[in-house]
Amino acid sequence: MHLAGRHHSSAAEELEVITPSKLAIDNVSKTFKGASGSVVALDDVSLNVAEGEFVCLVGASGCGKSTLLNIIAGLEKPDSGTVCTDGKPVTGPGRERLVMFQEPALFPWLNVFGNVLFGLKLKPNLTNKDRHDVAKYYLELVGLSRFERANIHELSGGMKQRVSLARALAPNPRMLLMDEPFAALDALTREQLYGDLQRIWKARNKTIIFVTHNVREAACLGDRVIVFSPRPGRIREEFAVDLPRPRDINSVDLAVHATEITKALKNHSQPELAVAE
């Protein structure tokens, strides 16, 4: 893809590929108190993620994987334990760790371009011209240049998630946190997005933490797949997926990995929660 070099304006600096984040999660626990008693969402979870690594967290619903993502994002605080990015503890949300949610969190009062621009407007060192150039670059990267003036409700589910991706990438974060971003999409659209995400990940060099309950998806995208068990949420096993990229979700090699991971997932889930896909 066209990288920063294509832009010779002052936006070029903003579009530079920067060093991705290193993530260290140490002994993180979190309990939610609800009406039906307390639920241990995370129990003593530790995880290290290397710079530029693509890590997938899989587990049955309620295993705390989304909670962990929210804690990394700084949207929730752990009861105990620490989360550090590049050696610095996470104390709150920040644009070096951007989140892409499952439900489209796009703002309906802004058009596509306005949405991508939102995070850029919060960066004080840019001129408006820079911001426009950067937003255009990312819309092109996700293949939606033609739709920059479109209203959000006019987009299909897949297009909405592409805009979400562009919006999350635009402020040039070091880390991308993705919370089941493709779960609501149809299979065909999803396959396209797997290809695009791998391409963009390579082009923009981000650390990605990707939460999913879809094992094939995890095997297709992740360098590493971390298997969670629910109640209490714990890391049980991890699998390195060393297949060449870009990976095809339908390949046989990938299926071998996926089968192995599914087996582990079933082992670690209670019987009634074993269905993972």
Partner: protein, 255 residues
């Protein structure tokens, strides 16, 4: 164009029925004037300036009161949505006062302010304020939390979130509250003007009142038509474009 022609035809038929009823002389011509008489009255009132003057007096009261109501109502609604204490106090008060037909403020306004412009403004403000407070509060409460979370991760902070996320997200509710506030204000002002003679200015309501006193039915009907037209224009010129924009952006139902 076809829609316009159909509408024009509809109103032409209405006028014809009116004229026919007048000619049938079922009722006294004092009580049912002809459309022509009404037009003649409106023409003369327009020419001698009474109509314009009264319209200006009424619109000034309405606009000033409405704007005060908006300026006070928006922040009150935001704070009511933001803090529990405000919700329990101001929120409850707003809910209660909104159920009170705003014309009920007229006696109180007269005792407090006498027959002055202030009394008129007060009635209009009371008509506007509570609707706007409640609509703003409801709107803010209906903003999906995910918008706030998404904005937080992009580096948006408290005030920025309020102005760039929560307020725009609540806009559809706020606009319908503004519209309701406008309707309440307009109705209560007319009631106040009909009830009360204010020496500082003769509004449309007062013209209506004196039409009755003089048993000048063409004046009564003429002024009623003017009031209807103003209401329609406010809707078409001000609210309709905003609502159309919101419908287009949000993708909500649009005929």
């Amino acid at each position: 164009m076809k829609r316009f022609l159909l509408a024009a035809l509809f109103f032409a038929v209405l006028l014809l029925i009116w004229e026919a009823l007048f000619r049938a002389k079922i009722w006294s011509p004092v009580l049912v004037p002809s459309p022509r008489q009404v037009v003649v009255y409106l023409e003369s009132a327009a020419v001698d300036g009474t109509l314009l003057k009264a319209t200006i007096v009424t619109m000034r009261r309405l606009l000033i009161g409405y704007i005060i109501g908006l300026i006070a109502g928006l922040p009150l609604g935001l704070m009511t949505a933001r803090w529990k204490v405000w919700q329990d106090t101001v929120g409850t008060l707003a809910l209660g006062l909104q159920t009170l037909p705003s014309v009920c403020w007229v006696p109180l306004a007269l005792l407090w302010f006498g027959q002055t412009e202030a009394a008129m403004l007060f009635v209009v403000v009371m008509g506007t304020l509570w609707s706007v407070v409640i609509a703003t509060e409801t709107g803010v409460r209906h903003v999906p939390p995910i918008y706030r979370r998404a904005a937080l991760t992009m580096g948006s902070k408290s005030l920025h979130i309020w102005f760039k996320v929560i307020l725009p997200a609540a806009l559809p509710f706020i606009v319908s509250g503004m519209k309701q506030g406008w309707a309440f204000a307009w109705r209560s002002l007319m009631a106040a003007e009909i009830f009360v003679t204010i020496l500082t200015g003769f509004g449309l309501g007062q013209l209506l009142h004196y039409g009755r006193e003089l048993i000048a039915m063409e004046q009564v009907i003429g002024i009623m038509i003017v009031i209807i037209v103003i209401g329609l224009l406010a809707d078409k010129i001000f609210f309709s474009p905003i609502e159309k924009f919101l419908h287009r952006r949000w993708g909500t139902s649009q005929a």
